[in-house]
Structure formats: C-alpha cells, structure tokens
C-alpha cells in the first residue's frame, strides 16, 4: 500500500495558557482535498501552521511519504514541497507583484544580478494558470483585495508544492470567483497535489472536499465524507457537539416594514466610476441586503452613505431631511454608522483592549461630572455588550488582537450598537467568522431590526442575505438591476444567482 502524502501522528501543541492541540492525528493522500473545520480556537490553524513550519509541535511526529521529517522553519517546509496561503495577505505593499511573488526565491543571472524579465515571465505564467490578469509591475498596495489574494496564491504555487494549504482563501471572494478557484484546485488535485483547505463556509467545504476533518477543542473529533446526504447541519453538529437550531424568525415581519416610516431615501445617487443612479428607500425596522459581484460599487456606496467618501450627484435624505456628508462624523451625527469589511484596519484599535474598543466611540456619554471618564460606567457598558453579544473573551481587559475573528467582529458591532444609531451599514458582517459566531451575529442584527433600527447589509454570501434581509437589491457595475422581496418566489439563491449572471453577461 502506498504511503500517504502527509501523516501527522499524535501532535500536541501548547501556547502560554492554552493547549491548542491535544494529540491530533492527520492523514492527507495524494490527489485529495481534506478540509479542516471547527470553530475558532479549535486547532485547525494551529495544525496548518505546524505543517507550514511556522512553529514546531511540542510532541508528535510528521511523515511525508513515509519519511519522518522535522519542519523547523518556513524555508524547510518549502523545500519539503509544502506551500501555504495565509489568511491575511502577507505581501509587501510598496513592492510590485513580481517582486512579491519571487520574494526570497528570486531568479538571478550568475548568482548576483536579478533576472527581472525571467521573473516577470514566470509570474505571468502562474497568474495565467490561475486565470487572472494582473499587471505584474503594479505595486501590491494598488491592487484590490481579490487581486492580492490571487498574488498570495501565485506565490505559494511558485515552487510547485506537492502539499498546498489554503487558509480562508475564499473569504473575500464572491461565488463566481470561488467557482473559478475551485476549478483550479480540482485541476491541481488531478495532478496529484494534496490540498488542505481551511474555511468557514460549509457549503463550499462540502462542495470541494474529499473528506472533512472536524476539530473541536484541540482534538480531531471526526471525519465526514461529503456524500449526497451530508448536510451542513451534520457538520455543524459535530463542530459544536450540539444540534443547532437554524430557524431565525426573520421572515414573518417583512411585508409590514414597507408601511413604516422612511429613515433613508436615495434619489439618483451617483459617483463617477463607482455607482450610478441609485434609488431606494429604507424603512424603520427593515434590513435591506445588497448583493453583487466584485466591482459592483456596493462598498463605495456604503462609504458614501456614512460619509467616508462623498457622492457626486443625486440626493440623500435621512428621516426626510436632505443631507450630504463631508466626513464620517457628519454621518454619525445624522444617525448612520458603518461596520466596514476590514475590521483589522478600519474597525478595531488593535493596541487597545475589549472594553476600550467597545466604548471608544461613546466616551462622551461615559463622563462624570468632572468630565473625566467614569471607569465603572465604561466597564459596565462593556460587560453589558460582551454578555449580550456572547463575546468570548477571558475578560474585558483582554487585548482585542488576541481574540478570534468572530469575536473581533462582534466587538466592532458592539461599538456601533452602543451608540444607539438609527441606521447601521454592515459590509460583509461575517467575513472570516466561524459558524457559531455567524449565527450569533445574524441573531444580533435581526434583534436590532426588531428594536426599530434599520440596516443595510452587503455580503458576497447570498445565503446570508436570504437569512436576514427583508429585501435584496442586486447591484451590477454600480447599478441596481433588480430587487427581490422576501416571501416572493424569486427570493432564493438560484434565482438571484441567475439574475446576477445574466446581468453580468450583458
């Protein structure tokens, strides 16, 4: 019998204060895709980091094609034929695409001088193979998030690894791009590459994997084979050790909401090159979703509504009053807040702790009579939201950078909820967030809606929008092409996807 491509035996890994892996076995065969799933902190990222040589295990052995190996650092991992694509793009912003792809693997003429042309050629070849057209002389900081993701994958593909680890690579991609990526992954698999796929979107995982390894609490609790019969519910159950009730009462209230008062109205809103002729009305206690492909302009529209950027033409009315925001402060004062799609850069103060992050925008309400911060009140409010949003943290004094993606996202949302604004814009509410936290966030948003708040939600995951929205606007290249209401027969994933595809191809 042939040796497996990769075999990990009894892996233990401990960090100060936490046992991340408690005796894990793992097998990867040639030409197979194994997915690692589990809630954050369950151990899947730790395992992949060990395989990639980022740190060694405290205990346990690793075998590649039967041979016992020690993966002491990333370079050794590379030499062993292991490639990894990390969660956050690890690219140097001021260097070009080709320089990034070939970082530390540069091709030289006679050992010293860089062979720039050869590197450009090879880079273009890899990008072509991945099906993307990117100018390799462009500086990485000028690329879109998706393009950056592609460059990181190209980087990992350069040494033609036999084991490829993909950690949350589909997070910023929409369905069309994911399909494209999956086709590439299937090609690689057919060529004998062993692929470890880590992700949170169970639908995708069931689609792409040959087998699914479920992690819970540092242990491998089971392997599921995606057959016709395997449902997401089953995977989640194994991940959490419980049965999850997915029914959320979003549906029933919907048709009434349009009778309620208008909180936001947009008339022919346009911004050159980004979006055009946007018309819609948002009512009190309503959640409106925005679906679209890359380049749809939805993020920029949200930014215009909050005041981060300004729109060029058209009219905007908040509660009947005409407004045009010059900066986010104006937007907030009119009652609009935004949870952006990049919490690390735009949502959190990474050097501060949980309580400080939750209260940072509301400090003027937490002052005592001497106009100094009332610490007790601040802590009380922070505790309140940690409880209400089920934010998992050892204490409110924990630094936010130590928390998982899902909990970080909840903190950003808590920050805005504390301000008690009427309108909240949420761009990609569950990006990089695990299943359990996703559900909790959905419940959160629906709860706000039931309390009379109004929300605009943008997401590449149509399922997500279908779960929580009263109506979904479909935006293609900056224009609204269609609106789909809850409780109508078009309010399902397939029909919405069809609308997007056909509009896109026109």
């Amino acid at each position: 019998m042939q040796e497996p491509l990769l075999f990990l035996k009894n892996i233990h890994k401990e960090f100060p204060g936490v046992k991340a892996l408690k005796g894990v076995d793992f097998t990867l065969e040639k030409g197979k895709i194994v997915s690692l799933v589990g809630t954050n902190g369950a151990g899947k990222s730790t395992l992949s980091s060990i395989i990639a040589g980022i740190y060694p295990p405290n205990q346990g052995e690793i075998f590649i094609e039967g041979k016992n190996v020690t993966i002491s650092d990333p370079k050794v991992a590379e030499q062993l034929g292991i490639g990894i694509v990390h969660q956050e793009p690890t690219l140097v912003p001021n260097m070009t695409v080709v320089e990034n792809i070939f970082l530390n693997k540069e091709i030289t003429r006679s050992g010293f001088v860089l062979d720039i042309n050869k590197m450009k050629q090879e880079s273009e070849k890899v990008l072509e193979f991945l099906g993307f057209q990117i100018d390799v002389d462009k500086k990485v900081e000028e690329l879109t998030l998706v393009e950056k993701e592609v460059v990181v994958i190209a980087k990992a593909m350069l040494l033609k690894p036999r084991i490829l680890i993909l950690d949350e690579v589909t997070a910023p991609l929409n369905k069309v791009e994911v399909d494209h990526l999956f086709k590439i992954i299937k090609d690689l698999k057919a060529n004998g590459m062993g692929i470890i796929f880590i992700g949170h979107k169970l639908q995708e995982i069931i689609e792409i994997s040959d087998s699914i390894m479920v992690f819970r609490d540092g242990k491998n609790v089971g392997e599921l084979i995606p057959t016709e019969k395997l449902s997401e519910k089953e995977v989640i159950a194994l991940m959490l050790g419980v049965i999850l009730n997915e029914d959320l009462e979003a549906g029933e209230k919907a048709p009434e909401s349009e009778q309620r008062e208008e909180v936001l109205k947009l008339v022919s809103l346009s911004k050159l090159g980004l979006y055009e002729d946007i018309n819609f009305t948002l009512h009190k206690g309503e959640i409106v979703g925005f679906a679209g492909l890359k380049g749809s302009g939805i993020t920029e529209l949200f930014q215009s509504l909050q005041g981060i950027i300004t729109f060029d033409d058209g009219e905007m009315y908040v509660k009947g009053k005409r407004v045009k925001f010059k900066n986010p402060k104006d937007g907030i004062e009119s009652g609009i807040g935004m949870v952006t799609n990049d919490r690390q850069k735009e949502g959190l103060a990474l050097t501060l702790d949980v309580k400080e992050n939750i209260t940072v925008s509301s400090l003027k309400y937490l002052l005592n009579k001497f106009r100094l911060i009332e610490t007790k009140l601040l802590k009380h409010n922070a505790e309140k939201y940690v409880q209400a949003l089920s934010i998992k943290t050892p204490s409110i004094n924990q630094f936010v950078q130590n928390l998982s993606g899902g909990n970080q996202q909840k903190i950003v949302i808590a920050k805005w909820l504390l301000k008690n604004l009427d309108i909240i814009l949420v761009d990609e509410p569950t990006r990089g967030v695990d299943v359990k936290a996703k559900n909790e966030i959905y419940k959160l948003l629906i709860n706000e809606k039931n309390n009379g708040k109004s929300l605009l939600v943008a997401s590449p995951e149509i399922r997500e929008l279908l779960t929580i929205c009263d109506k979904i606007l479909i935006v293609i290249s900056g224009r609204i092409v269609s609106t789909v209401h809850r409780n109508t027969k078009e309010f399902n994933e397939e029909d919405i996807l069809n609308i997007i595809h056909s509009a896109h191809h026109n």
Binding site: I54, D73, P74, K75, E78, H86, T90, L91, V92, P93, N94, M95, E99, N100, F102, L103, N104, K105, E106, T108, F112, V113, L114, I308, I309, T310
Partner: protein
C-alpha cells in the same frame, strides 16, 4: 481620476505628472538658478568645492541613514560616531604603535604618524558600532530610537574622555589632507568617492536580491519572515553600513579640516534624517529611493550655501531647513494619498 496629462495640450511634455515625478530634481535646478542669481561667487571654484565637500559629508551620512530607515529603523548615533571613530582610532593606534616604540602624538596633540592604521581603525570601529547598534536592537528587542540614542550619549562621553577635551591636529601628518583636498581632473576626490558609494548602493539595491531583502524587511516584516528572509540579519547589516558611512564621512571631514574635534559631527544625525525624509524615505520603512536621498543632500547643502552667501545668520537657516523638511514630507505623503 482623470489623467493629469490629458488636462494639458497633447504634445506637451511638461505635465503635472512630470513635475510630480521629478520634483526633487526640479527643485535642485531651481536652486542652482537661484544661487547664480543671488550671488556672483556661487559658481566660483571655491564655492563649488565647498558645496561638494559638504555634499560628500552629509550625503554619506544620509545614505547610511536611508538604509536604516528603509528597514524601518533609525540611527541617532551617526553624529557621535563621526567623533568617536577617529578619536578611538587614534587612541588605539597610539597604544599599538607605542609597543614598537613609535610615538604618534607629539607636542600634546599633534598626530604625526600611523595614518594607515588610523584609517583602517576608523572604518572598523565605526562599522563595529553600527553592528553593535543592530545586534542590541534585534536581540534585546529594544527600539532603535532608544538604542542609538543611548549609544549617542555613551560615545559622546567616551570621545571626551579619550581626547581629554583637546582637539587633535593632523597638519603634520603626511597624507592626512589627501582625502579632504586633493582633486582628480579638478573634481575633489572625496566627491568622487561619494558618487561611487552612492551609485554602488543604488545598483545593488536595484539589481540584486539585497534590495528585495531590505525593502521587504522594512515594508512588511511579517511577509519577509514568512518568505524565509532573515530580517534580523538585514537590520544589523543596515546599521553596520550606517556606521561605515559615518566612518567614511568622518575621514573626509577630518581630512578637510586637518583636525579631529571632540564634538565633530554633533547634531549631524538629525540632518541625515532630514535629508532622508526630504528625499522621500519614510519612517514606516520599505519606501523611498537612494537616488532621492542623493538629490535631497544636494538640495539641502546648496540651500545652506546660498543662505550663507546671502548673509543670513545661522538661526534663520535652521528655520528654513525645518520648513523644507515639513514641506517635503507633506508633499511625499500627499502624492501617495488615495483618491476619494
């Protein structure tokens, strides 16, 4: 954003973009024109030589500082190295040659022998201090601002102790004034040295792996480490080169003045940072070009020269330098801002 070139007549090569890209050179040319207008001696032989030697001294420091800033660090000790290097080298040479019976210092503080050994030791000691700065930075994880600031104070104190506060005169030392005063085809040798160093570093950064190592270490250290680059090594390397540049600058300086002052180079570290910033090197690391630093060195040195010729007293000069630094840094930041 609509292209700037489209705003003007087709066929015109002077567009807004052209000015933006070549801002530094344009300013330099304007300065040269201004100099010629404001003073009849600006283009005279003596003045040119004065400009060139200052350019060499400050330019070398600025290049070393630029390398350190590119790896996202800072070196406040270069000025102090300019004094300590020669003083320690002379003290050490004195002891070494005293063994073989040669007395290199006579008449209290005239250095009369040992030039070769002194030069070698200056370069060695200054590089060593740079490396020491780097090692402390990476091993003890102390921010470079603190390390090099501490080093500045230590070196200043030691310079004073070793020299007992006296200047050391090199007028009776054969060959001492060669680096500072001799010319090759009527161009000062020191300036040629500066150009050679500058061009060499530019070529290495652009055409070899070294450039990628340095820019990635400063631009995104995590990405560099994940790619397997030894970022600690490159930081130490940058500090070492900074020290070496300070050493070479010290040689040029002392050769020109034919003396070694206890406090020479004092304050020069700030000028080297100012020049780097004007030239487009950022404090965040991984961004900026050495060519910019060289042009910025010229801009600063010529500006100071013009102000002297025009008769402006010293404190006005520092005001103007301050304004230039802020203006240049703002301009660089502005041209990188995303359009909204």
């Amino acid at each position: 954003m609509v292209s700037d070139t489209a705003l003007l007549n087709r066929g015109s090569i002077i567009s807004v973009k052209f000015i933006k890209d070549n801002m530094l050179i344009i300013i330099l040319l304007l300065e040269l024109i201004m100099g010629g207008i404001l003073s009849p001696v600006f283009f005279g032989k003596n003045n040119i030589h004065s400009i060139l030697i200052n350019l060499t001294i400050f330019g070398l420091l600025a290049i070393g500082q630029s390398l350190v800033m590119l790896v996202k660090e800072i070196d406040l000790s270069v000025g102090a190295i300019m004094a300590f290097g020669p003083i320690a080298a002379i003290a050490l040479t004195k002891e070494i040659l005293a063994f073989s019976g040669t007395e290199i210092i006579v008449g209290g503080n005239y250095v009369v022998d040992g030039l070769a050994l002194i030069i070698v030791l200056v370069l060695f000691i200054s590089t060593l201090i740079g490396v020491l700065n780097g090692v402390i930075r990476v091993k003890a994880q102390v921010p470079s601002l603190i390390v090099t600031l501490g080093m500045l104070y230590v070196l200043s104190g030691m310079s004073y102790i070793l020299s007992k506060g006296y200047s050391l005169y090199l007028t009776n030392l054969d060959g001492a004034k060669w680096l500072g005063s001799s010319k090759f085809a009527s161009i000062p040798v020191n300036f040629i040295l500066f150009l050679v160093v500058g061009i060499l570093i530019i070529l290495v950064l652009k055409y070899t792996k070294v450039g990628h190592r340095i820019y990635s270490t400063g631009g995104n250290e995590k990405a560099a480490i994940y790619s397997g680059i030894n970022t600690n090594f490159w930081k130490v390397m940058a500090f070492g080169l900074s020290g070496l540049c300070a050493g070479i600058s010290a040689l040029v300086y002392s050769s020109r003045l034919e003396s070694v002052e206890t406090i020479q180079g004092s304050g020069y570290e700030l000028i080297s940072i100012a020049i780097a910033v004007i030239g487009g090197i950022t404090l965040e690391g991984g961004r900026g070009k050495i060519f910019g630093t060289i042009v910025a060195s010229a801009i600063l040195v010529i500006m100071l020269n013009i102000l002297s010729l025009v008769g402006l007293i010293a404190w006005y000069k520092t005001i103007i330098i301050g304004l230039i630094i802020i203006g240049a840094a703002s301009q660089h930041a502005f041209s990188r801002r995303k359009t909204t």
